[in-house]
């Protein structure tokens, strides 16, 4: 006699229900926040004990906030592109919630990557800004983020804007590989990749380990803030639904 078994993915997919996600987020956010604080505190301890670079002197300290912000600017867009696929293929409302919640965070980290890069560039290159391929492509990424934020707020009904927003997000994803490989494809003032290379990282362990711990701390911070923003977006939609229901019932 055959027995019916539930699909093994049901447990995972149950979190795609906004109500269940709220419960999951409420339980997860405090633990994520504590882990983020520990990672960032450990990272800052390692940064403050890192030696000065023999060429760049103490300006190398800027790397520990610039590089994680730059990595996140691309990672967050990749998260948004995955969410856009979820919206287009499965038309899942939580995917749209994820995309909308991530966009402002991506814009902030991209802005920080540009500003800290500029603060690093002035003493090392003698200029605040250069229209080279890496810097220009990151500036384009910031403009794309701002455009997507504007588009997400242009529709009164979130469901109406989900598909156009997802399509525009996927179209803009072309900028991510351009940013990554810009230093290889073009002759840029910006240095080539030092950590994410096909061979071993071209960086001493005294700088590499603090950088990796800071990158983990920044990534955990993003996931904490993303869950918090998703929770806000779901609450906003519930309020909107209840207000419409009230208006229809003439309260």
């Amino acid at each position: 006699m055959a027995t019916q078994t539930k699909p093994s993915t049901e447990g995972f997919w149950s979190f795609a229900n906004p109500s269940k996600f709220m419960g999951f987020a409420n339980r997860t956010i405090p633990a994520l926040a504590i882990t983020t604080l520990i990672a960032l505190a450990a990272g800052m301890f390692m940064v403050l004990n890192a030696p000065e670079d023999y060429q760049q002197g103490s300006s190398v300290l800027i790397m520990f906030v610039h590089v994680p912000a730059a990595w996140l600017s691309m990672m967050i867009y990749t998260v948004m592109a995955c969410s856009a696929v979820g919206t287009i293929v499965w038309r899942h409302p939580l995917a749209d919630v994820s995309l909308r919640a991530a966009a402002p965070l991506g814009a902030v980290f991209t802005f920080l990557a540009l500003v800290t890069g500029s603060l690093w560039g002035k003493p090392m290159w003698g200029t605040w800004w250069e229209w080279d391929a890496r810097m220009t492509s990151v500036l384009i990424l910031l403009i794309i983020y701002l455009g997507l934020i504007a588009l997400s707020r242009a529709f009164e009904e979130p469901a109406e804007g989900a598909q156009p927003l997802a399509i525009m997000t996927l179209t803009g994803f072309i900028i991510v590989p351009v940013i990554k490989f810009s230093v290889n494809w073009w002759n840029t003032l910006h240095q080539p990749a030092s950590v994410m290379r096909f061979d071993r990282p071209a960086m001493d362990a005294a700088f590499l380990y603090p950088l990796l711990v800071m990158a983990i701390g920044y990534s955990l911070l993003f996931f904490t803030l993303h869950f918090m923003s998703m929770r806000n977006e779901i609450l906003g939609r519930r309020i909107r639904t209840m207000k419409i229901a009230n208006a229809q019932e003439g309260r």
Partner: protein, 54 residues
């Protein structure tokens, strides 16, 4: 502490901390506002569609 490039290092860290602190506070304020608004609506008798089905 930050060597001869302190005038570049300190603003980089200060700006990063300030921007991230503003984001954290903003998200928390919005959460509290929306939770309060939702509670007020529920107290006023408005129910969610999913709650009414039960």
């Amino acid at each position: 502490m930050f060597g001869k490039y302190a005038s570049f290092v300190v603003p980089a860290y200060a700006l990063s901390m300030l921007a991230l602190a503003i984001v954290i506070v903003r998200i928390r304020v919005i959460y509290r506002q929306r939770l309060a608004e939702l509670n007020a609506l529920e107290m006023a008798g408005a129910g969610r569609r999913s709650a009414k089905k039960k």
